[in-house]
């Protein structure tokens, strides 16, 4: 594959030769991506391939071992935290596990970014704002509950509402539909599409869910072991020649992995089955 050089001004978010190494483990290796403004970019890949790490680099929550990250042409990976604060208000980040503040109610969680960065004092306005954001994700009416009393999927939706509280230019979603039922998943898909169409929000979505990926993506990037394995629109990915990509999108285990699994065996002397006891 010929590597295309990316330049800082090629998109709203650009990474160049992004490399991240944790101790001995290479989480990302020379990832160069230019994310287009106003489009939805989906990142797919097997568990542990570096998707979350990649997303965190986009708002400098993690700092690269090597390489550069640009937002609107400005290099952000070396900025100090106080300089980043300004940049980060243009982003919404929806964490994989929700990361809601569990000592605050749903309402307080959502007004948190607003209180930090906007001078809105009127409680009526704030209340309306929260209601609006929660209604978008179908969670209106849960304002006064604590995150501990919500289900996993509900937490995720509230966290999504919090991510879009400041009307950001870019929203980064880390597996927004994982763990949701098919119908709620589709609500989230439609929401991402709606935000992109109506507010021209740039979305970067990490997902395992190919159905959702095909539906929302303008472009799909597949990561494999910290490197880009494929990059193109939905049709390109659907008909990708590479075996690694085909296996992933069809959800099929590789021949080598299968052989290893067969060889491994599953029954240990200490592991008994119910029928082992029925013979006597």
């Amino acid at each position: 594959m010929t590597r295309v050089e990316v330049k800082p001004g090629d998109g709203i978010l650009v990474t160049r030769n992004l490399t991240k190494i944790y101790g001995e483990r290479v989480a990302l290796e020379k990832v160069s991506v230019a994310i287009e403004k106003g489009k939805t970019t989906v990142i797919i890949g097997q568990s542990g391939c570096g998707k979350t790490v990649f997303m965190k680099h986009l708002i400098a929550l993690e700092r690269p071992t090597e390489g550069e990250v640009f937002f609107k042409g400005q290099r952000i990976d070396q900025l100090h935290n106080h300089e980043l604060a300004e940049v980060r208000t243009s982003f919404g980040f929806c964490f994989q596990m929700g990361a809601l503040f569990d000592s605050l109610t749903v309402y307080e969680n959502i007004i948190f970014p607003i209180q930090q960065h906007r001078e809105i004092k009127d409680f009526k306005v704030l209340g309306e704002l929260v209601k609006l954001k929660l209604a978008l994700v179908g969670m209106d009416g849960y304002q006064h509950q604590y995150p501990a009393s919500l289900s996993g999927g509900q937490k995720k939706r509230v966290s999504l509402a919090r991510a879009i509280a400041l009307n950001p230019e870019v929203v980064l979603y880390d597996e927004p539909t994982t763990g949701l039922d098919p119908i709620t998943s589709d609500v989230i898909n439609e929401l991402i599409i709606k935000l992109q169409r109506e507010l021209k929000i740039t979305s970067v979505v990490v997902t395992h869910d190919m159905k959702s990926a095909y539906k929302i993506a303008d472009r799909i990037i597949m990561l494999h072991r910290g490197k880009i394995a494929a990059d193109g629109d939905a049709d390109y990915i659907r008909n990708h020649p590479s075996e690694v990509v085909r296996q992933f999108i069809e959800g099929r285990i590789g021949e080598a992995d299968l052989a290893a699994l067969r060889l491994g065996g599953t029954k240990f002397p200490t592991q008994f089955q119910p029928e082992d006891f029925s013979g006597t």
Partner: protein
């Protein structure tokens, strides 16, 4: 091999110290700016309530028992020499100078230090601290500075409570149980205990409080993943606080003693 391991361990400790210093530095910076921004005061009030107000009963109990125990232990020694009326000086100096401040700080380290580390540690492993950061808010400003500020400002106040109850505890045991003349008890106490003793005891509280909050918050922010990580961080935080309180107290004993000897005799000249 052994020297290599020792060297590595040493390097690790120095690194930790460096990180802790940077953390403390940015915490103090954030505190400075949060004093200038009344918007952040509610956060400090909340923490003051959790850290300070709710610690009052346990601190008072600690103080009272310290005074009472000192009275019981010292009485027989002094009575053997016929000096039982001096009991007040001994108890009150010990309470206001050392035992009140140190034991109040230790109680606070146990009550507050562990809770702060557990709270921030859990926030760390569930990515809530990263979430604060991702929304463009400095987590040190939002989470650490109100806690340090509350602890730093309220520890001296709590020490006053411990002192007060220590003095009362000692008094009641001495006067009611040992039938010491109340007037003599107070007279000797007033002669022996100087403003300097009370003042330095309370002054130390700022440093004890700051150390407790900084160490606990640092341990929470740097805690490792998982329930075990949080547990370990809590233990380390408590041990760290405890050692720092004792070490700080030693440093203060040396420094304050030198200052006292140099300047206190000059007091009448002012």
């Amino acid at each position: 091999m052994v020297t290599l391991a020792v060297w590595r361990k040493f390097k690790q400790q120095v690194e930790h110290l460096g990180r802790f210093s940077r953390f403390s530095g940015s915490a103090f910076g954030a505190m400075g700016s949060s004093i200038a921004h009344p918007k952040t005061y509610p956060l400090v009030w909340t923490q003051m309530n959790i850290i300070g107000v709710k610690s009052v009963p346990v601190i008072m109990a600690t103080g009272a028992f310290v005074g009472m125990i000192l009275a019981v232990q010292a009485y027989s020694q002094l009575a053997a020499m016929g000096l039982e009326e001096r009991l007040g000086v001994l108890i009150n100096i010990a309470v206001v100078k050392e035992l009140g401040p140190v034991l109040a700080a230790v109680m606070l380290a146990g009550r507050v230090g562990g809770a702060l580390t557990a709270e921030l540690g859990t926030m760390n492993v569930t990515e809530q601290i990263a979430a604060v950061e991702s929304m463009g808010t400095d987590p040190i400003k939002y989470l650490v500075s109100p806690r340090v500020l509350a602890c730093l400002l309220l520890t001296p106040v709590l020490i006053v409570y411990a002192d007060l109850l220590g003095i009362l505890g000692g008094y009641f045991v001495s006067v009611i149980q040992f039938k010491i003349n109340s007037g003599a008890y107070w007279d000797y106490s007033a002669m022996g205990v100087e403003l300097w003793d009370v003042g330095t005891g309370i002054f130390k509280g700022f440093f004890f409080g700051g150390a407790i909050a900084l160490i606990s918050c640092y341990k929470g922010f740097t805690c490792r993943e998982g329930a075990q990580g949080v547990g370990e961080a809590c233990t380390e935080a408590f041990v760290g606080c405890f050692i720092s309180i004792l070490a700080l107290n030693y440093v203060f004993a040396v420094i304050l003693d030198a200052i006292y000897k140099t300047f206190w005799p000059l007091r009448p000249l002012l």
